[in-house]
């Protein structure tokens, strides 16, 4: 069958990261083609290239055999490629019909909108999808997530989409809505619409998809018919990397529990999490994007205080209502997004390093320049920050060095518990291993470290224990010796807990 869409030799680089290298993908009419891969494998870059948001650095895109190039999403839409993102792009104030025809409403005289035709055609599209519970005049703002998604799908059809890209469509849906979605997908398939389906729920791939393509580290691994593969095979395609054995893990004595969390709740993404962290221990927290890891960490840190559950430090239950209280009790959180959460980029290194601990570099409220300078010199030395001096503005530093400044800032608060959220994201290899060495040293000095990371080699190489979160709960725990890439990924993605390789120490943490 002649493919509608073909992408070949696609490469794409962003500052600091090679998102795709010589990758390929194709779509046939009337097929559901699943695109799989871990976080950072390149799936979202690929679909953004298909939908015209990005242009590839190299490679060809061919539509019906003809080479095409999209300068913006509208051009791709015009050629029949529609995308439904996780974050919906509807206008809540406007009606279903208006949203469906946003940007291409049927016109009458003088450019006015032809309302009757628009409503009629909207109703027709909904009918063709067997959607009978949507009123075309209802305001989108009042609809449930499931209904809004159906409006998005109708919108794509109104553009005569031949290819529909769905990115994690079931992530926010109820079971009933998921089934409705599957029904619609099947209908579309019958109408020869090609559907590119991204999902982390492997069971959905087997239910819906005809073919599956796997990407890993920005590279193309393989494509096969779904009936020819098993879950295990897919998982091993997704993770098959060798672990870099450059992770300096120093022998450390693991002490008593420093932090204990019991049944911590903070809706919507922290649903009854329990765990323990001991002095000198490095616990890796793995999970997919959206599994609730950062939310959990931010709840422990008091940024989004807990609604229920207990936080116990050194055996004593604590109430943590804001980051200030967390800090004073010895908890530090190095945030995921260093640009917006970790640093004040317009300020200097010295000012950033002291930001969380201004009290300790000041006397009676007045900042002591000398103390502050000493603190920043110490930080620069301890972490090997490459900069002219502590006076350099943080904006001008490389990603790795910026990350070190954030870490330095939190080390200055002399924490007992250090939570690091994606500590080496966007950091070059050299700085990465320096940061890893630092983490080991800190553990050796007795800090209890919780390391949230989407990079499996990092998690497996550094952790004494690995916890896996999924949809707000801890679903698996592995000791260092039992953790492998396969069983961690399986835990991240699988619905149920029938893991074969390792013995989970605990089942779901609720």
């Amino acid at each position: 069958m002649q493919p509608i869409l073909e992408l070949e030799h696609i490469s794409k680089k962003f500052p600091g990261v090679q998102a795709l290298t010589d990758a390929r993908f194709d779509m046939r009419p009337g097929e559901v083609h699943a695109l799989l891969g871990e976080n950072g494998a390149g799936k979202s870059t690929m679909i953004k290239i298909i939908s015209g948001v990005h242009k590839p650095d190299t490679g060809d895109i061919r539509l019906d055999g003809q080479r095409v190039s999209f300068n913006n999403p509208r051009e791709a839409q015009a050629k029949g490629i529609a995308t439904i993102y996780q974050e919906l792009s509807l206008y809540p104030e406007l009606s279903v019909a208006e949203n469906i025809f946003m940007g291409h409403a049927p016109r009458a005289m003088f450019g006015a909108v032809d309302w009757r035709t628009m409503k009629r055609r909207a109703a027709e599209i909904l009918d063709s999808l067997q959607i009978t519970d949507l009123d075309v005049e209802a305001k989108v703002g009042g609809l449930t997530v499931g209904k809004r998604q159906r409006v998005e799908i109708a919108k794509a059809l109104s553009l005569n989409a031949r290819i529909l890209i769905m990115d994690e469509p079931t992530a926010a849906l109820t079971e009933a809505d998921v089934q409705r979605l599957f029904g619609i997908v099947r209908l579309l398939r019958e109408r020869n619409v090609g559907i590119t389906y991204i999902s982390h729920r492997l069971e959905e791939v087997f239910v819906l998809a005809d073919r599956v393509t796997v990407l890993r580290d920005g590279q193309y691994v393989g494509t096969d018919d779904v009936k020819n593969v098993t879950q295990d095979k897919l998982i091993s395609m997704m993770v098959g990397r060798t672990i870099e054995n450059l992770f300096p893990k120093l022998p450390t004595e693991i002490g008593k529990p420093v932090l204990e969390v019991r049944n911590l709740w903070r809706k919507p993404l922290c649903r009854g999490v329990s765990m323990t962290l001991r002095a000198g221990e490095i616990v890796g927290l793995a999970g997919l994007v959206g599994s609730g890891r950062s939310e959990f960490a931010q709840t422990v840190f008091g940024f989004t205080p807990a609604q229920d559950g207990e936080i116990i430090l050194d055996g004593k239950p604590q109430k943590i209502r804001n980051p200030g209280e967390a800090m004073s009790k010895g908890i530090a959180y190095v945030p995921e997004d260093r640009g917006t959460q970790g640093l004040v980029r317009q300020m200097r290194i010295r000012e950033n390093v002291s930001l969380a601990v201004l009290r300790s570099v000041s006397r009676g409220g007045f900042i002591d320049d000398k103390l502050e300078r000493e603190m920043s010199q110490h930080a620069i030395r301890q972490l090997g920050i490459r900069a002219f001096s502590g006076e350099q503005v943080v904006n001008k530093l490389s990603g790795g060095n910026q990350q070190k400044v954030v870490v330095a800032k939190w080390l200055a608060s002399k924490p007992k518990v250090l939570i690091m959220d994606e500590p080496t994201r966007g950091v070059d290899v050299g700085a990465k291993s320096e940061i890893h060495r630092l983490i080991s040293e800190l553990a050796q000095q007795g800090l209890a470290i919780l390391m949230i990371s989407s990079e499996l080699p990092e998690v497996l190489g550094m952790s004494d224990r690995v916890l896996v979160m999924r949809e707000g709960r801890i679903v698996a725990e592995f000791e260092r010796k039992d953790a492998t890439q396969e069983n961690v990924v399986a835990a991240m993605m699988r619905e149920s807990m029938d893991v074969t390789d390792a013995q989970p120490l605990r089942t779901a943490g609720d």
Binding site: F14, P15, D167, P335, Q341, G342, S362, S398
Partner: protein, 344 residues
């Protein structure tokens, strides 16, 4: 969908220190330059301008606006705004008059009432902005109406007169050759400047203005600090009201009307970015002085006060333009002169 690591977008924006130094060296430098030019021009306009008497007298007027401009600098640095300051002055002044004349309180107590009114008014602003989340623009626009309305309603637009002599000391007296209120302004200005530049509180304001989220993540008590600055704004307005009444020995409900324009213009003229994140008290004081000089000089050359506000309004818009674009231009120029500091 994984987030993209690092984008270049922020690298090209002027950094904090670049903006600061461009503000200091360019804006302040320009200000002083303009100030000198203005002095010369205005001096030609009227022979009364450059007399010690006149200049000292002018400081009486600028003290009131100057006091309010101090916390306004803090507020604008954090990215907020307070449009209600003029109205707070009005209602505080009225409360002074009302509590003295209608309630029969001793004048000393009435002064306290005046100042407390200001603090409460500012605190209300702060509470709604911080706890409820009303954007500062809207909140202070609403309280601009509310407080002015209260002033008008309580006083029924009648004015109060007849204050005792000692009361006038503050507004009309002198100490060591300088008007009393000038001393008050100088003392407060020094206080505010030192706090802003050298204390943890001041540092936190810059952090909030540059990256409020980052400040929160760093454990800075953002909400508490914002409450403090809005209350300060009310406090200084209350004090300014006291000085004003003392100077004019009457209380009227339209006091402070239009002051927000002068204050904000002065703050922006002095180099504080309307978007927040940079600013100094020195700059604001220079701005205040310049604006007062302008007003006075123009008045002495026969320009009406109405025409003067045309100038002030234009100054406001022009300062922001310079602020916005000078920083980028300055940064671009100096980047070419300095070796690149970016690490590979």
């Amino acid at each position: 969908m994984s987030a993209l690591p690092e984008t270049k977008a922020l690298d090209d924006a002027p950094s904090f220190s670049e903006r600061l130094s461009s503000a200091l060296f360019r804006q302040e430098g320009v200000l002083v330059l303009i100030g000198i030019v203005a002095l010369v021009v205005l001096a030609f306009g009227s022979e009364n301008f450059l007399t010690v008497d006149n200049l000292l007298n002018q400081t009486r007027f600028l003290a009131e606006i100057g006091l309010i401009a101090l916390p306004m600098t803090y507020i604008i640095i954090t990215g907020g705004i307070d449009l209600s300051v003029g109205a707070i002055v009005g209602v505080s002044a009225i409360m002074l008059g009302v509590s003295w004349q209608n309630w029969g309180l001793p004048l000393e107590l009435a002064i306290v009432v005046c100042i407390i009114t200001g603090v409460i008014a500012g605190l209300v602003n702060g509470l709604f902005i911080v706890r409820v989340g009303v954007p500062p623009l809207i909140m202070t626009l609403a309280t601009l109406a509310l407080y002015r309305g209260l002033a008008e309603g309580i006083s029924e637009s009648r004015s109060v007169r007849g204050y005792p002599d000692w009361f006038e000391e503050l507004g009309q007296g002198s100490a060591l050759g300088l008007p009393t209120q000038l001393w008050v302004l100088i003392i407060f200005a020094i206080l505010f400047a030192v706090v802003l530049a050298r204390t943890t509180f001041g540092r936190s304001l810059y952090a909030i203005g540059n990256n409020e989220l980052g400040a929160r993540f760093s454990g800075i008590p953002v909400g508490r600090n914002k409450l403090i600055i809005y209350s300060l704004s009310g406090l200084m307005a209350g004090i300014a009201a006291w000085i004003f009444v003392s100077r004019t020995t009457t209380t009227r409900s339209d006091y402070g009307s239009g002051w927000e324009l002068d204050v904000i213009a002065a703050v922006v003229l002095g180099g504080t970015s309307i978007f927040g994140g940079t600013g100094t008290i020195i700059g604001t004081m220079l701005g205040i002085v310049l604006i007062q000089l302008l007003k006075n000089g123009l008045a002495l050359t026969g320009v009406t006060s109405d025409a003067t506000i045309v100038i002030i309004g234009s100054v406001l818009i022009l300062s922001i333009l310079i602020n916005n674009y000078a920083g980028a231009i300055f940064g671009a120029l100096t980047r070419r002169l300095r070796p690149t500091q970016r690490n590979p």
